[in-house]
């Protein structure tokens, strides 16, 4: 039995469905992220786990106990909010000890626990500071410590890094992951940032339009998206209409040029229109070594992005993006040049029928 079980969860606000048919099992100590665009239902689902929203249908079970109708106070979950939500009238130590004070723990025990979690977040000397005296990153670490102090069964984080600047975001997410792994606490993390979700999680739940699109490891989600939405939302993707030339051999045509996919095209007839997707980083110039698929293209644009160089190319009507690692000796074609690009059979994913798009 999983540690956290969400079964047939749905939530309707008025006439608007916020979450539909949500089923998920999270193992003890697992780090699961809900990833999706704004309004997809990820925060609502998290709030149903915390008890701030009651599901319209379905059950929430934590460690074998059905908590579906229990108030937040009775769930023993620790929540970290996007806007920190530190109590401004209390200093750091009082904020962290608040849950223990409410639980009427002895003062000595509270003091000891506060010192422990301050050490975990490496802010031992900040106990007497007030929230307004801390930076955003420090406030969020205190919020994390406050949630951890009560030793919750499940840690819930609602876009905790969105309000922080890019550098702090990266360092704090590494810190969150390290603390989570050290404590072995079951964690549900909500984010719209794919990089965050992929780098932190054991599993990612991709959501769209109040439903789950795909659940999988970051590797599966990125490399083997099952739906076009997942493929488009996670990472950059070239989506190109193609026609099946010979389904049995995995042959397709794009702009009268033939491509081959390693994917089995079962159930797709020859001549049928489909949509194929190729990640930009899987495409290279044929001059660097040819792979099974080769397309003649024209270079439209070159953008320097630091560690990578993004090249926009055109094959007939279709525009592709291709990424290549930057190095000082890189020789790129000029805009307007006609060259060949190449990619492997495995790089070509047939997502769905073009007629259904």
């Amino acid at each position: 039995m999983a540690f956290l079980e969400l079964t047939n969860i749905s939530k309707v606000f008025g006439q608007t469905p916020a979450v539909q048919d949500f089923n998920l099992q999270v193992e003890k100590g697992e780090f699961v992220s809900f990833l999706g665009p704004s309004g997809c239902g990820k925060t609502t689902t998290l709030r149903m786990i915390a008890g701030f929203e009651l599901p319209t249908t379905g059950t929430v079970v934590v460690n074998g106990n059905d908590v579906t109708n229990k108030p937040p106070q009775k769930r023993n979950t620790g929540m970290v909010f996007q806007a920190y939500a530190l109590f401004p009238n209390m200093n750091v130590a009082e904020n962290i000890g608040f849950g223990l004070k409410i639980a009427r723990k002895p003062k000595d025990e509270i003091k000891k626990r506060v010192e422990e979690v301050l050490a975990i977040i490496k802010m031992e000397s900040f106990g007497n500071r007030y929230p307004y005296q801390l930076s955003g990153g420090q406030q969020q670490r205190v919020a994390l410590a406050r949630a951890l102090a009560i030793q919750p069964q499940v840690l819930l984080l609602d876009e905790p890094l969105s309000a922080l600047d890019a550098k702090i975001r990266v360092s704090l997410r590494q810190e969150i992951r390290a603390i989570q792994q050290k404590l072995g606490i079951t964690t549900v993390y909500v984010t719209h940032d794919q990089e965050e979700a992929l780098s932190l999680s054991d599993r990612v739940v991709v959501m769209n339009n109040s439903k789950i699109e795909q659940v999988g490891t970051p590797f599966e989600i990125y490399n083997f998206p099952k739906t076009e939405f997942t493929a488009q939302f996670v990472g950059t993707l070239n989506s190109i209409p193609a026609t099946v030339r010979h389904a049995a051999n995995g042959e397709l045509t794009v702009d009268s040029q033939t491509l081959v996919t390693a994917q089995k095209l079962a159930g797709i007839a020859d001549g049928e229109a489909v949509m194929i997707s190729i990640r930009p980083e899987r495409i290279s110039f044929a001059s660097e070594g040819r792979k099974p698929n080769v397309l003649n293209i024209k270079v439209e644009n070159i953008t320097f992005l630091g560690s990578i160089v993004r090249v926009q190319v055109r094959a007939g009507e279709h525009l592709f993006l291709m990424d290549t690692f930057n190095n000082p000796f890189l020789k790129l074609p000029e805009v307007g040049d006609k060259v060949e690009i190449t990619f492997s059979k495995e790089a070509v994913l047939v997502l769905r029928h073009a007629s259904q798009i």
Binding site: A50, G51, F52, P71, P72, Q73, T77, G78, M79, F81, A83, Y84, A85, L86, F87, P88, N89, F98, G99, K101, I102, A103, Y132, R146, A147, I150
Partner: protein
């Protein structure tokens, strides 16, 4: 030569012409108004308070405020009276023969009671409208009413209360005719001290609503949810989080209400015809010379009022700043 001139002009320091902003023109009327109706009168009061009738420097006006007051510390226990309620004091104070100090005491009593009543009523109304889950139109209606009512004072307010709760007032007659209950048989009178307190409260609580509503709006939903998540009940949330956060605003606004009431004169004068010797009425009479023409003494009493008001406003701003520091994002 030409080159030299060019070099010379190049090496000269850049011109430091200061452009006077025309934006200052916009605030001239404000400064003019403040100078004519705030700074100049205050200056006249301050100068007048330390001058005798011949224009010589004296502190006799301030001494005159305390004429006849005897204070015996721990000498003999006595009782203080606050609007009918008695409190024990460990010392004796005799103000009976001093109308100035009595006027201050009455003004402070009325101001404290109306600030407290207005504060509590205003807070409960604002709480109901902001956090009580009432329909949105209630909030708009309350704020609109408060915006109007907080400035409804002076003669029109006194007349409104006499027309409503006077011996032949609309509500008095209505209650008498419908329920057969004569309000005035209970000893109530709109012209009494209680009537004055009721009338003052009418413009006090709307001010509380207007000032405390933003503070209640500033209570973040996440604070309540975070406290619930950490196991706190609604009472514990209010006790440990919400109330301490809004307390500076609450106290600050009550101090503002105190000052608002302390400085009022027209309402009391119009309602009671000067039956109650509030400090403001006494100043009015001293300066106008209706009782004792001693403008110097009137100025001294007015300076005392300015001190009380300045202390109130100073405390208000200190509490507001403390509250803002907490609530800043």
């Amino acid at each position: 030569m030409q080159t030299a001139q060019t070099l010379s002009s190049r090496s000269a320091p850049p011109s430091r012409k200061r452009n006077v902003s025309f934006a200052w023109l916009g605030v001239v009327p404000f400064f003019l108004f403040a100078a004519l109706f705030l700074i100049l009168p205050s200056g006249i009061l301050l100068v007048g308070a330390v001058q005798d009738k011949q224009g010589n420097f004296t502190l006799a006006n301030f001494a005159g405020m305390f004429k006849g007051v005897s204070l015996g510390l721990v000498a003999a226990p006595s009782q203080a009276n606050l609007l009918g309620l008695t409190f024990p004091l460990p010392f004796t104070v005799d103000f009976q023969s001093n109308s100035m100090i009595n006027a201050y005491i009455l003004s402070i009593q009325v101001s404290v009671v109306t600030a407290f009543l207005g504060g509590v009523i205003g807070f409960l109304l604002a709480y109901a409208a902001v956090l009580g889950g009432l329909p949105k139109f209630v909030r708009s209606a309350l704020l609109t009413f408060s915006g109007v009512a907080s400035y409804f004072s002076g003669v029109p307010l006194a007349f409104a209360f006499i027309a409503t709760l006077g011996r032949l007032g609309f509500v008095t007659v209505l209650i008498r005719n419908i329920f057969g209950f004569d309000l005035y048989m209970t000893g109530f009178s709109v012209l009494s001290l209680l009537g004055l307190v009721l009338t003052y409260t009418y413009f006090q609580f709307p001010l509380m609503v207007l000032v405390i509503t933003p503070a209640l709006d500033g209570l973040k939903r996440e604070w309540r949810e975070a406290s619930e998540n950490l196991g706190a009940s609604a009472f514990e949330y209010w006790r440990h989080v919400a109330f301490p956060i809004i307390l500076p605003s609450l106290l600050g606004t009550m101090i503002l209400l105190f000052g608002n009431s302390f400085g009022a004169v027209a309402t009391a004068y119009a309602l009671t015809g000067g039956n109650f010797q509030l400090a403001t009425i006494l100043i009015f009479r001293q300066i106008r010379g209706e009782v004792l023409q001693d403008p110097g003494l009137g100025y001294a009493v007015a300076v005392g009022m300015i001190v009380v008001m300045a202390l109130s406003l100073g405390l208000y701003y200190w509490l507001q700043r403390r509250s803002e520091r907490w609530l800043r994002r």
